[in-house]
């Protein structure tokens, strides 16, 4: 009951959020000194009044701003996000096309970040203040400090151009054709087709961008796991566990880790959010055909249906991830579950 109520509340907020986000972009993109008409018609057609009228009518640009917004929201409620001025395709279609690439990369890099982040964090906490702890903390700080656009460049230079041990940019090697779209995750689609080689190729292409993208989150997770585990280890119930005669290993595995993970979950959520922001940079370097590049182009072109579309998508994503984090909280922490 409480859970359903909670989810309903979250979803209500989502609606509110979508309205807010679209309004903000709408205002920004319409307060621009330049005019999407000029930006999107060819030099020739600007001089042609008829062309300009046609264009304006098509995009509703001839109506007052608030009408345009209501038209937009009305369409949104019908599940339509309008048509991108730049690509001239429905925004929803564009998002469907680009988002899976982004999500595939994001998930992959999250897996890397979570696995290594937690592993490093645990080692570091157990060996607190020893050499290995210093090394891991150094790595984790490097992870959160390194500019991703620069790291991507260096990785490509070193591992692809110089050493040739990593594949180049893009989602697949150039001579390979993408698998039939089912999930639009190339690795999974290739596996569905039974094409192991293709799947392997797609997986390899995830590696460098995944690492670059995940480095920040990995650093964050390492740091949080470490401090959270240390904090939990000083709790009274750990003393109780010791008094019961458990070994240190059992104490960490059975009593400390579960509790320590709770704050880590939050950080993972935040990390996932950051990841989508960092996408713009990484996708540019790795020629990754995802939402980041799409957004970058859209912003540059003042293609407001597309900007609103992307913003809404990412905001929804944020809310969904927060929801998941909260639900995970409930799984990990019975105090939350029973409230």
């Amino acid at each position: 009951m409480g859970l359903i109520k909670y989810i309903v509340r979250r979803l209500l907020f989502l609606g509110f959020l979508i309205l807010g986000v679209s309004l903000v972009v709408f205002i920004i993109s319409h307060s621009v000194p330049s005019d999407p008409v000029l930006a999107n018609l060819s030099q020739r057609n600007i001089d042609n009044q008829e062309m300009v009228e046609t264009f304006k009518a098509k995009w509703g640009l001839d109506k007052p701003l608030y009408t345009q917004y209501f038209i937009y929201v009305g369409n949104l409620l019908k599940g339509e996000m309008g048509t991108s001025i730049r690509t001239q395709r429905p925004v929803l279609e564009d998002l469907k096309k680009y988002f899976p690439a982004t999500i595939e990369l994001a998930i992959f890099s999250m897996i890397i970040a979570i696995f290594f982040g937690m592993l490093f964090g645990i080692i570091s906490a157990i060996k607190r203040n020893r050499g290995i702890d210093q090394v891991i903390r150094g790595i984790s700080v490097l992870g959160v400090s390194v500019p991703s656009f620069w790291l991507g460049l260096m990785f490509l230079l070193i591992f692809y151009a110089k050493l040739g041990i990593a594949p180049g940019p893009g989602r697949l090697s150039p001579h390979l054709a993408p698998p039939a779209a089912v999930t639009n995750f190339y690795v999974i689609d290739a596996l569905l087709e039974g094409d192991w080689e293709l799947a392997w190729d797609a997986l390899q292409h995830l590696f460098l961008p995944g690492l670059v993208l995940g480095s920040f989150t990995m650093g964050l997770i390492t740091r949080t796991t470490r401090s959270s585990l240390l904090e939990v280890m000083s709790k009274d119930f750990i003393r109780t566990a010791r008094a019961k005669g458990l070994t240190e290993k059992m104490i960490i595995m059975r009593h400390a880790l579960g509790n320590a993970l709770i704050p880590v979950i939050t950080v993972i959520g935040i990390g996932f959010g950051n990841l989508l922001g960092g996408m713009v940079l990484v996708e540019t370097i790795f020629a990754w055909p995802g939402i980041g590049q799409y957004a970058y182009k859209a912003a540059g072109n003042l293609d407001f249906p597309a900007i609103i579309g992307v913003s809404i998508l990412i905001s929804i994503n944020y809310v969904v991830i927060n929801l998941l984090v909260d639900l995970l909280y409930g799984i990990l922490d019975p105090r939350v579950r029973y409230n």
């Binding site: 709790k235 009274d236 119930f237 003393r239 109780t240 566990a241 010791r242 008094a243 019961k244 005669g245 458990l246 070994t247 059975r254 009593h255 579960g258 509790n259 990990l332 922490d333 019975p334 105090r335 029973y338």
Partner: protein, 331 residues
């Protein structure tokens, strides 16, 4: 149950000789426990009283070898069942913990792991120290829950600590401590966090269980009322030292150390005639700034020049009565 005094014998269950515990902190070395010696027979209940920070908990934790180093450093001998706990290997100590010696902590909320069910936590020592199968352990746990007076044990078994009230949680702690039928039970302020009516329930429960299991108990508290209800013998601590020890009745009726005396007088009680309370002036000295000589001397109304000069020894004034005061020998 009787409060009769039992003379010390060589087959003491626990004997602590000259226990010293210090902590290295940012401000300096902090001597939390100084030269504490005490002993305990099987089946006996020993009370430790003293003001906050006087080293009661640290003494108890030292017995279990639970003082972590750093920052703590423990010196002295702690014989349990004839073995020096200090000399045991980590594995041997582990075998003793929860099995032969168990501990109940003051704050039942924070001392239970919030993310495991109560049942699981009670089962843990059983699975660890006894050759129980999971099913036997569960049966044993339910039995334990019943014994500590928890209604609906089947349901409580599945519940998490936060779903229980403070009194219930403390019962769970007790069940957990008793799981392996320990020879020695350390109870560190087990009822301080509880309401009076619940406290009374828990004290009754502990008395019953003591009779059943025959465990020796060290009862740590700052409430002399609880001591006089539960204990056979009492140790009074002040600023990390034992200042007085003896059988309960004698100590209450005839306190030898001025601190004990002051303490007894300053407790308001409904049995007493309403009159102005006696009060010990001043405060407990800071451990970094211990007075010369006797540590109670600045607050003591009997203090003499000698008290400010030399630290009195703990001297035996009668059979099983010791006191650290120049007025009673001291040498």
């Amino acid at each position: 149950m009787s409060n009769e005094f039992k003379p010390l014998q060589d087959d003491d269950l626990l004997r602590i000789n000259n226990l010293n515990v210090q902590f290295r902190t940012a401000e300096g070395v902090f001597k939390a426990v100084r030269d504490v010696s005490l002993s305990l027979r099987s089946g006996e209940t020993l009370g430790i009283v003293g003001e906050s920070g006087s080293g009661k908990s640290v003494t108890a934790l030292s017995i279990m070898n639970l003082i972590s180093n750093p920052p703590g450093e423990v010196a002295g001998e702690i014989y349990f069942n004839g073995r020096d706990m200090q000399k045991l290997s980590a594995e041997e100590v582990r075998q003793v913990r929860g099995n032969e010696i168990a501990m109940i902590f003051q704050e039942p909320m924070t001392s239970l792991n919030p993310i495991h069910t109560c049942g699981k936590q009670i089962m843990e020592p059983l699975l660890l120290h006894k050759t129980y199968s999971r099913r036997d352990a569960k049966a044993g746990t339910l039995e334990l829950l019943k014994r500590v007076g928890i209604p609906l044990p089947e349901q409580r078994f599945k519940e998490y600590p936060h779903q229980l009230s403070g009194g219930m949680r403390q019962r769970v702690m007790i069940a957990m401590a008793l799981a392996c039928r320990p020879k020695l039970l350390l109870a560190d302020e087990p009822t301080t966090a509880l309401d009076v009516t619940i406290q009374a329930q828990i004290l009754e429960l502990m008395k019953d269980l003591r009779q059943e299991t025959g465990s020796a108990i060290i009862m740590i508290t700052h409430d002399l009322g609880i001591i006089s209800e539960m204990c056979h013998r009492v140790v009074v601590m002040y600023a990390g030292q034992v200042v007085e020890s003896g059988p309960l009745k004698e100590l209450i009726r005839n306190p030898l150390h001025p601190y004990t005396e002051g303490l007894l007088k300053s407790i308001p009680a409904i049995t007493k005639v309403k009159q102005r309370l006696h009060s010990i002036e001043g405060t407990v000295p800071s451990p970094f700034n211990m007075p010369r000589g006797c540590s109670f001397q600045p607050r003591c109304s009997y203090a003499t020049a000698l008290c400010a000069e030399k630290v009195p020894d703990l001297s035996q004034v009668a059979e099983d009565r010791e006191v650290r005061c120049w007025r009673h020998g001291g040498e």
